[in-house]
């Protein structure tokens, strides 16, 4: 009975953690302009944080060779050459954290030229972390691993008598009282 109640509690907790709407302060969408300087092989700044619903304008300025920017999730791309700043405007209507990466082969370390766009808090990440913690909690509470547990090795008492009896289930060790 107690075990069943525990199960129920955990199922409710799982759904709560995974889907409960959070009373997050909703910022009024504004328009933001971010100047991203692309050099071999980094974006500066590499992390851009905006609020959901913001009108984001990215000015991509290449400072050595030609670079590009491809934004995962939003599927947007621009390229910029030195002296020709490229401008990308979009509405940050998808929340979460998205990678952006250089989209023009710019040199040996081009695949490592990446950055992040954070749109609001990364709820997916935090919910996953909470779910993992919940799972750990669940296993601890269900199986009391460290409470009232005899050591696994058998301690033989001195002068105890043992008998091996043949039963219908097989050979069994029985201790005489």
């Amino acid at each position: 009975m107690k075990q069943q109640r525990l199960w129920l509690l955990f199922i409710v907790a799982i759904f709560g953690v995974a889907f409960a709407p959070l009373p997050l302060g909703t910022a009024v969408p504004t328009s933001r302009t971010v100047r991203l300087e692309a050099s071999s092989f980094e974006f500066s700044p590499a992390v851009v944080a905006v609020n959901p619903g913001d009108q984001v304008t990215i000015e991509l300025a290449a400072t050595d060779v030609m670079h590009g920017l491809y934004l995962d999730g939003y599927d947007l791309e621009i390229t910029a050459e030195p002296g020709q700043t490229a401008v990308l405007t979009f509405t940050a209507d998808k929340t979460g954290t998205f990678r952006f990466r250089c989209s023009v082969t710019c040199g040996a370390l081009h695949p490592f030229m990446i950055g992040k766009l954070k749109v609001g808090p990364n709820l997916l990440l935090w919910r996953s972390v909470a779910l993992s913690l919940l799972a750990v909690l669940f296993f601890i509470s269900r199986e009391p691993l460290f409470v009232n547990r005899e050591p696994l090795s058998v301690v033989r008492k001195p002068n105890a008598e043992y008998e091996i009896r043949n039963t219908e289930h097989g050979i069994r060790n029985t201790e005489h009282p």
Partner: protein, 333 residues
């Protein structure tokens, strides 16, 4: 054999139309053959005649090969591929659109030249600090040997100008001269100041000095006379020219000279100091012919490449028209 198999299949799969699916397949195969064979022959022949050009960063060799030959009217087929980063390919003075040359991807280009001569092909994507060193030539021979029209020498050679001579002035303008204010002064400039020759060969300062001495300007201040010079310069350029010049400037010049003309582009420091087109002391002492020469010849002991083989005369005119707007801003817009 094939027909037997097809009929057999038809019997097994379709009850109603025994022969229809087989016939359809046969027609399909015939159509494939009819379409595919010419395609195959074309592809095989292309492979024979096409020249593969590898594009590398200039430090690693640039275009390999960097000399090509072609004949007038005969298509020159090129397979372009990059061996490192993204490059571009364009042929100077032709107006043909530039193509991108990417690593791991063959870009096929077919060029047909109408006129014999030496053409320069060049990289159009900033691939490294020495990007503008990445060039090659195509030698195009004519069907019959024709006497090439004698090329007229550039203006600075004709005028025997030393385009490397310093042309700094000892003047300081408080406000940039304005063509709009010059027009408002309602002074009819003597026609000799509005001629094309003056715009091409005289410096703004020389024109200002001459105007200052003219009787029409006796009542004007020095600044007013500068506005008149701006108006005279403006009369020699068109808005379309300036637009075109701006596009060319941003594509080719802004990386070193800065998009605002201040000589502060990202590569301006990498080479020796790039010229500052907003500096009135150096600009107002230079003539259009000097700029024309510098653009065509390049050099100056700096990282400036030569553009004479890449830009057409009209493109250089448009570029210079745009350069003058850094001194004589178009504030009427």
């Amino acid at each position: 054999m094939a027909a037997d198999w097809l009929t057999h299949r038809g019997v097994k799969s379709a009850k109603k139309s025994v022969n229809l699916s087989g016939e359809f397949l046969a027609r399909f195969l015939l159509a494939l053959l009819v379409i595919g064979t010419p395609l195959w022959i074309w592809a095989a022949r292309r492979g024979e005649t096409a020249v593969t050009v590898h594009a590398l960063m200039p430090e690693k060799g640039g275009f390999l090969p960097d000399t090509l030959t072609a004949a007038v009217g005969v298509p020159l087929e090129l397979n372009l591929i990059s061996d490192d980063v993204m490059h571009g390919f364009a042929v100077g003075q032709t107006g043909w659109p530039a193509v991108d040359v990417k690593p791991g991807q063959m870009t096929e280009v077919t060029l047909t030249f109408a006129e014999p001569g030496t053409y320069t092909y060049y990289c159009t994507r900033w691939c490294g600090p020495n990007h503008w060193r990445m060039r090659g030539t195509i030698e195009v021979t004519g069907a019959e040997e024709r006497e090439a029209p004698p090329a007229s020498p550039p203006l600075y050679v004709e005028l025997e100008l030393d385009i490397d001579a310093p042309h700094e002035l000892d003047i300081l303008l408080k406000t940039p001269p304005s063509a709009a204010r010059g027009a408002e002064l309602d002074i009819t400039l003597p026609s000799e100041f509005l001629s094309r020759d003056v715009y091409l060969t005289q410096t703004p300062f020389e024109v200002w000095q001459a105007l200052r001495l003219a009787s029409e300007t006796a009542a004007l201040t020095d600044e007013d006379v500068w506005d008149l010079v701006a108006a005279a310069w403006h009369s020699q350029t068109t808005d379309e020219q300036i637009q075109r010049g701006q596009t060319l400037y941003n594509q080719n010049c802004a990386a070193c000279h800065g998009s605002g003309g201040g000589g502060d582009g990202v590569f301006g420091q990498a080479f020796d100091q790039a010229s500052d087109f907003t500096d009135s002391q150096t600009m107002l002492g230079a003539s259009t012919a000097v700029f024309d020469g510098k653009i065509r010849r390049g050099g100056m002991g700096t990282g400036m490449p030569y553009w004479g083989t890449i830009f057409t005369d009209e493109e250089i005119d448009a570029l210079i028209a745009y350069l003058w707007t850094f001194q004589f801003p178009m504030d009427n817009e």
